[in-house]
């Protein structure tokens, strides 16, 4: 069997997880225009909350996923309310916000490590079902559901942004926060809700990763950076180009792993970032 189709499928699966992170990151970046590094830590929060619900409380799978998402959404909202919002009110520079989010990221990740140890843990009890894709490649059931989840979430978000009042408000705030405020949009509230949704998406990504490869407190940074790279490769601030960027990143990474070795994965991703920043800083779709 030729290995290339399998490599491409692996790339798409990785890409769909990055896409979830990138979706939330891009949404929040669009509304606030700063790099929220704590976004990665919220994936970790989501994954570990699901683990606690599933393993320690013994509740069902559905509860684990819902509570995991709610927990990361809630913490993301609190971060905005108590850290980012006061800083934005003071017109702090992007660098201040970046450093503050870095601090929040570090603290959250370490707290998770204290509560759950730094050991590698998985959400999956037993083996995942292996599904054969017409003899070309195989995926696990978890991976396939991750792919489907991203498609559903992406479509849902698109509909919300396009057709609801809230969606219009988000787009207005992303275009120009000041003007949005002048015409009577409650900018702070909208941004808060954006953080709620974005963080929930990050949590969902963390839970899916917990089922697919397993959880580690340190996974947040690499996941976040993949989301950021995907956003930049696709075109930052544009929610849908970010998804395309995520799939591109996932495929290039897996091609690289196939050609070299798994150890170079992060270096390949960052190599791609630096190439894009240098030659196409506005992303693949724009000049």
């Amino acid at each position: 069997m030729d290995i290339l189709p399998q490599v491409l499928v692996n790339g798409l699966i990785a890409g769909s997880l990055y896409a979830l992170v990138a979706l939330g990151f891009n949404l929040a970046y669009g509304a606030t225009k700063f790099f929220n590094l704590a976004h990665g830590a919220l994936s970790v929060v989501g994954g570990y909350t699901a683990l606690a619900v599933l393993r320690d409380l013994g509740w069902g799978l559905g509860w684990a996923i819902v509570i995991g998402i709610l927990m990361s959404a809630g913490i993301g909202w609190l971060l905005d309310k108590f850290i980012y919002l006061p800083l934005r009110k003071r017109k702090a520079s992007n660098m201040v916000l970046l450093v503050a989010s870095l601090g929040a990221f570090t603290a959250i990740q370490a707290i998770i490590a204290i509560l759950f140890t730094s050991q590698f843990q998985t959400l999956l009890a037993g083996e995942s079902k292996i599904i054969d894709l017409f003899g070309y490649a195989v995926v696990t059931g978890v991976q396939l559901s991750a792919f489907v989840t991203v498609a559903v979430v992406g479509l849902g978000l698109y509909l919300i942004l396009k057709f609801t009042r809230f969606g219009k408000a988000v787009r207005a705030v992303s275009d120009d926060g000041e003007v949005a405020r002048i015409v009577g949009i409650q900018t702070d509230k909208i941004v808060g809700t954006v953080f709620l949704i974005a963080s929930g998406l990050a949590g969902l990504a963390g839970i899916l990763i917990g089922f697919d490869t397993g959880l580690e407190p340190t996974m947040g940074m690499s996941l976040l950076l993949k989301g950021v790279i995907a956003s930049i490769v696709g075109g930052i601030g544009n929610v849908y180009c970010g998804i395309a960027g995520a799939f591109l990143l996932g495929i290039i990474e897996n091609l690289g792993v196939w050609q070299f070795s798994g150890e170079w994965k992060d270096a390949i991703a960052f190599g791609l970032l630096i190439i894009f920043l240098l030659f196409r800083p506005k992303g693949i779709f724009k000049n």
Binding site: A92, V96, T106, A107, S118, I232, W264
Partner: protein, 288 residues
Amino acid sequence: MEYLIHIAILAVIYGILGIGLNLVVGFTGLLSVTHAAFFGIGAYATGILLTNHIADFWGSLGLGMLIAAVLALIIGLVLSRFRDDYYALASFGFNTIVFALFLNLQDITRGPLGIPGIPRPEILGYSFGENFSFLILALIFLAAVYFFSKWLTESSFGRVLKAVREDERAAQVFGYNTFYFKLAIFSTAAALAAIAGSLFASYITFIDPSTFTLHESMFILAVIIFGGLASLRGSIVGAVALILLPEILRFVGFPAEIAAQMRQVVYGLVLVLLMLYRPRGFFGEYKF
């Protein structure tokens, strides 16, 4: 006593790292998060050359500084295309790439196994094997780095750096080629970080890639933000404080595993609180 000396040596090493990074972040206004990469290059230069008996400590120190400075020139060339938060993001990338090199060039660095048995420095047959004598040596280096940086920042060169920080366009209008100034200071800071790396490697006597991650760069950033941007004195205070603070937690009775994580919690919270209430740090002259 031995424990206090250990803490003091670490504080001195991080003080050197802080001063170097402050030249770039505090004085020139470039948010670089890749300092641990140059720290690692100094450490690996000393580790590799000493354990293979290719050079003595002083030779490895010089070579480490040289490699770090040249690499910084190349990285700086790419980074010079970016500003502000994009600069920070791209610098993340270089730290990750250099870390991957430490981890994967196993023929040279022994990868995740690390390099054990790095000897202490010697001068004219006198070995700094005792921790106390090593502390004196480290302090001499710290003083040298401090006074060098003080001289540099107070010179006309340093004034141009501050002009770049305040308003790069204006500095260009006055005829300064800010590109070269930024490259020069980035390279200098990298060489200073390599000094800290050489000291670290020969003090701990064992190095592996896990010391030189992005997290380490963030810790050094926390040190200088805590002490104050564009304040050399502040960098030393920041290093002492952020090294000492988690040790106090250990005394309060946290087990070792948790104490290591508490260090991260503490410096994470320190960063958040500083950004909220005092973005210029304790002695800082400048804030982002």
